[in-house]
């Protein structure tokens, strides 16, 4: 679970982190040595449905 909740860039509601995914070939992103790619958090807004991601800490 994310250390700090993500705010929806569309409506400002607190988003829910529902997944993590390894992204390969990310441009300029830090490669996680355990996974060989960038670990991304996936978030969804329960108010408006908007989805967003950010690199995991």
């Amino acid at each position: 679970m994310a250390a700090s909740p993500m705010r929806c860039p569309e409506c400002g509601a607190t988003m829910n982190q529902h997944a993590e995914k390894i992204v390969y070939g990310g441009r300029g992103l830090r490669t996680d040595p355990d996974f060989g790619g960038t670990l991304e958090e996936m978030h969804a807004c329960p108010r408006c449905g908007y989805v967003a991601s950010r690199p995991a800490n």
Binding site: N16, H18, A19, E40, A44, G49, S53
Partner: protein, 188 residues
Amino acid sequence: MAEARPLSIPVVLGTARKGRMSAHAARLVHEELQKRDGVITELIDVGSLTVMLDDNGQGTGDPAFAASMNRADAIILVAPEYNHAMPGLLKHVLDSCLQEYIHKAAGIVAVSAGPFGGTRVIETTLPVLRELGLATIFWDVNFGSVGKVFDDKGALLDASFIRRTDKFLSELLWMAKTLRYGREHITV
């Protein structure tokens, strides 16, 4: 049961080929989807999207397509079978997004001029959708020998496809509702 916020389910017509019969299948599925309560839909033609041919991958696609995928609770791919796989243009377009797809439902409508109903494009598309983070359903619609299913103007000649599409949509909507709840309320 209608959702408070309508489900968004775009239909993606996956070929730009001249004379494409897949357009008739996409229109039929889109029309049947429009009859469902609590659903908003749009028909996206990959041939009308802005496509970068000198780049590829996440964030390189048409912003309008990315916005549609962000809003979507499920997507329907109408994919003809070209040499056992989806058209290269459809793969290129799908690869332009990633975060927009995660934990969303996907259904495949396969179209083929031959008798096998596009089963091979379905089989080769499933691992792609999985890697994109989409959750595939177990119903498909197979428009095999599509030249006998629609006439030249797109009129449906085989009414069984209405019922087949109805079952496919029912399963897709169930998955879309379930995954929306999961995305928005269940934390990983």
